[in-house]
């Protein structure tokens, strides 16, 4: 967010500010909550995990001599008797971006200490996530029904199924974990834990609406990964 106010510290803008922040005592990320800094570093690490998955996928797809199935056809869905390419994926993308938007607003209202709005928006995000997971389950069962397995598929290179189930599975796990936490945090917001600075279950830290931003970072990251999966897996 915008520069915090710190007693005895004059902020400089841009790269000069970066040098000054880095060279200063106590904190390097001025005004950034510990939990938020942790989430950022964790996401950086997670980025490397997903990058390794996608790089492996690129290497695997690039070096097979058997033709790769055309995702546009494999993931097509019949709407009123007409096959529409990637229909389900498009709706899933829509749902995930919608939930990302509600999350962003939840963070904003959280910082404004608007308990009701924040709570409802977190809940809406959770429901969006749940819808996404449900649709993914539908997509998996449809493909399995069509004979796609991690080790083989009727459309072409066997690695197609392997990478599909592994990458979307890993992403889906992230979404599911996110949904669980969204429900928990929605409860915590409604229960007023952040207004009365109640300590968490496993921590001695006081409750603060910054936790909604931390959760938001995770949720946006899940969306971010989906952007890359959408581009590389479904559009390539």
């Amino acid at each position: 967010m915008s520069d915090p106010k710190i007693e005895g510290y004059v902020f400089k803008p841009g790269f000069k500010g970066m040098a000054q922040d880095t060279g200063s005592d106590q904190t390097m990320f001025k005004g950034v909550h510990w939990g938020k800094a942790m989430m950022w570093i964790f996401l950086l690490s997670d980025t490397f995990i997903f990058s390794c998955f996608l790089i492996s996928y690129m290497k695997g797809r690039g070096s097979t001599l058997i033709e790769w199935p055309n995702p546009s056809e494999v993931f097509a869905l019949d709407a009123f008797g007409v096959p529409v390419p990637l229909l389900l994926i498009a709706i899933m993308t829509f749902v995930l971006i919608t939930s990302s938007g509600t999350m962003a607003l939840a963070v904003k209202y959280g910082y404004e200490k608007n308990r009701k709005m924040c709570g409802w928006l977190v809940l809406a995000t959770a429901l969006g996530g749940l819808t996404f997971v449900g649709m993914q389950a539908f997509e998996w069962s449809k493909l399995i029904h069509e004979g796609v397995r991690p080790w083989e598929n009727p459309f072409g290179a066997p690695q197609f199924g392997s990478f599909f189930f592994m990458i979307t599975g890993f992403h889906g796990t992230h979404v599911s974990i996110g949904v669980i936490f969204l429900f928990i945090y929605a409860y915590k917001v409604f229960a007023g834990h952040y207004d009365e600075e109640k300590r968490g279950w496993f921590t001695t830290m006081k409750g603060n609406y910054v936790e909604i931003e931390i959760l938001g970072l995770y949720w946006h990251f899940v969306d971010l990964v989906w952007v890359f999966i959408f581009a590389f897996f479904y559009l390539w």
Binding site: D3, G8, Y9, Q26, S45, F48, C52, G60, Q159, T204
Partner: protein
């Protein structure tokens, strides 16, 4: 954004409030900004279980990590004895089959690199020293820190469980190269490899929790006045190594996961078409080289995950015991950071003869030799720290000197192997074994031992016995050197590694005697480590009490109100830091060290150059 900026009216804090003690010669001189973050609330354990087992105190967690890693390390040591027994005296151990031999090789390698060295440096020393050295009360997320240790505990449990499953532990070599890792013909290709992958995944998950703690503590929870450039190099080393771990372990995680899927579900990530015993297996189209890339994208940073904390710790030990500031502190910091950054661009120098795209050789040889420059600078700075110092020849210093000799030796052979052409005849031979044991086995071990002798008075409040310590050092150093120095020459003859029976061409038969000698030395060195255990047990009760700051060091960990430091480290008030951690032998000062918390006004009339 710019509007917010203009709002930033700074308020000069009242100096009387911020001076910590001090003679008050010139208050402005001692001004340190007030705390940005409120004091940390800690959960204090009440029962035995919350105080010593499921404990949230980083110091206890550090000791727990240390003990469990040492336990695992002793298992690794015993495995190495069994290997050397087979190599030096084939057939001496009746139960030793080729299967067992390869299982021992694999488990020895994996245990020593991941479960011993990584856990010990980052989990052990990191947990104990980071909060103390940066002046924090504890790690920033103590609960997560506790979970991190117990994940490590489970990971070790799973790893050791693989000794008792049908087929035994995996015998695929610690690099776990597919396809052989999961095919018949390699020992432990069933449950063994699955448990290994599971254990690694658990280790990575647990380590991530710990690593986030170390990073955020260093970045966001330093005490007042503690800038990054005033941190002891130990913290720099552990910090940078943790950054590497956070970014490198993902590749291992992904590799382990994909390999498990290949094994369990029959996917073909790493498995091409394979003909085995006259039958074509149901695999096809995968790429074994991909695993090697993933593994070494983790594996090379892993080398520095072990080396960088060692670099940091040794710098501090040499400085304290030479009574002289570390030479070229800035250069040392930038070298650590530079080595860390570069380590992500050199991974395929482990793969020069792996059949990867041959053009990669140019790229990776160049990046690898570039990394030699900052490493060499560190070596120069260590010996230049000794130069014109006032060197205490105690056990700690001996370990430091031993480190310099073994590290320079192993570093130089690293230049052989990093230079692509020289690597071709030497790779996969005993030269490689000798090189990496010297540089990331023995050299870090010297640092660990030096660090134990150095910080034991802080942890336990008593000195370790010097006489036993010297025996321990000389047997370890001379023994280990005589294991690995001659071993390079086996590599020159062309003896390949991972041979159950030594290659017995006419060229090597002459080396039988040397082989036996190496094995004997290995038994001796292993046994010598028990001197330390004896020493610790003996001195815990009867050792000379150390008191506060026994080595007359400058850095914060020695300046706690109680020795050993209690939970929360600092009593009522956090320390305030005014200088770097290396103001030794400042001209004009009363003593030959000025602690980090000494305000400038107290030493205004000395020749302090840098604060």
């Amino acid at each position: 954004m710019s509007e917010d900026f203009n709002d930033n009216k700074t308020i000069q804090a009242q100096s009387s409030e911020t001076i910590s003690g001090g003679s008050g010669a010139s208050p402005d001189m001692d001004y340190v900004r007030p705390a940005e973050v409120g004091d940390q609330d800690l959960y204090h354990g009440h029962s035995f279980i919350t105080k010593w087992i499921f404990c949230q105190d980083a110091k206890v967690i550090g000791v727990q990590y240390f003990l469990l890693a040492t336990f695992t390390g002793i298992i690794g040591l015993i495995l190495s004895w069994l290997m050397r027994l087979q190599l030096g005296f084939p057939g001496a151990a009746g139960f030793m089959t080729a299967e067992h031999y390869y299982q021992f090789v694999t488990m020895h390698g994996m245990i020593m690199v991941v479960y011993f060295l990584t856990a010990l440096f980052l989990g052990g020393f990191g947990n104990y020293l980071i909060p103390l050295m940066v002046g924090a009360r504890d790690m920033v997320f103590p609960y997560l820190n506790m979970v991190s240790f117990w994940m490590f505990f489970i990971a070790v449990g799973v790893l050791l469980a693989s000794f008792f499953v049908p087929g035994g532990p995996t015998g695929a070599g610690w690099t776990l190269y597919p396809p052989q890792t999961i095919l018949e013909g390699t020992p432990g290709s069933g449950m063994g490899i699955l448990l290994m992958c599971l254990s690694l995944i658990l280790f990575v998950a647990g380590f991530t929790m710990g690593g986030l703690n170390y990073l955020i503590t260093v970045l966001q929870a330093r005490t007042r006045g503690m800038t990054l450039m005033r941190m002891p190099l130990t913290v720099w080393g552990i910090f940078t190594a943790t950054v590497l771990a956070m970014l490198a372990f993902p590749a291992l995680l992904v590799g382990a996961l994909m390999m498990s899927l290949d094994k369990v579900l029959g996917t073909s990530f790493f498995m091409p078409t394979i003909l085995k015993a006259g039958e074509v297996l149901e695999y096809g189209g995968g790429s074994p080289i991909l695993f090697q890339h993933l593994f070494w994208f983790f594996g090379h940073p892993e080398v520095y995950i072990v080396a960088l904390p060692a670099f940091g710790i040794i710098s501090d030990l040499i400085s304290v015991h030479s009574r002289k500031n570390i030479f070229g502190y800035r250069m040392m910091v930038w070298a650590i950071v530079g080595i860390g950054g570069l380590s992500f661009f050199v991974w395929a120098h482990h793969m020069y003869v792996s059949g990867m795209n041959p053009w990669f050789g140019f790229f990776f040889a160049t990046t690898t030799l570039i990394i030699a420059v900052p490493t060499a600078m560190k070596v120069y700075n260590w010996i230049l720290t000794l130069w014109r110092g006032n060197i205490r020849m105690n056990t700690v210093m001996l370990w430091c000197l031993g480190f310099i000799v073994t590290f320079v030796n192993g570093g130089i052979t690293g230049i052989f192997l990093g230079n692509v052409t020289v690597d071709v005849p030497l790779s996969d031979t005993y030269f490689v074994i000798a090189h990496f044991h010297m540089v990331m086995g023995i050299a870090p071990l010297m640092v660990i031992m030096g660090a134990v002798y150095h910080w034991f008075p802080l942890v336990a409040g008593r000195f370790l016995d010097e006489k036993l310590g010297k025996w321990h050092f000389w047997t370890t150093f001379l023994g280990a050197y005589s294991i690995y120095f001659p071993m390079h020459y086996l590599g020159f003859i062309g003896v390949p590694r991972r041979y159950f029976e030594m290659y017995d061409s006419p060229y090597v038969t002459s080396a039988t005697g040397m082989n036996e000698f190496i094995s004997l030395a290995a038994f001796l060195v292993g046994a010598a480590q028990f001197i330390l255990i004896f020493n610790i047990i003996k001195t815990l009760k009867t050792g000379k009490p150390a008191g506060s700051n026994p080595w007359k060091a400058c850095s914060l960990e020695w300046l706690t109100p109680t020795v050993p430091p209690e939970h929360g480290n600092w009593g009522d008030r956090l320390p305030v830091v005014h200088r770097w951690a290396y103001d030794y032998s400042v001209p004009g000062a009363k003593e030959d060290f000025i602690t980090q918390t000494t305000p400038p006004s107290e030493v205004a009339d000395t020749g302090v150059e840098k604060t």
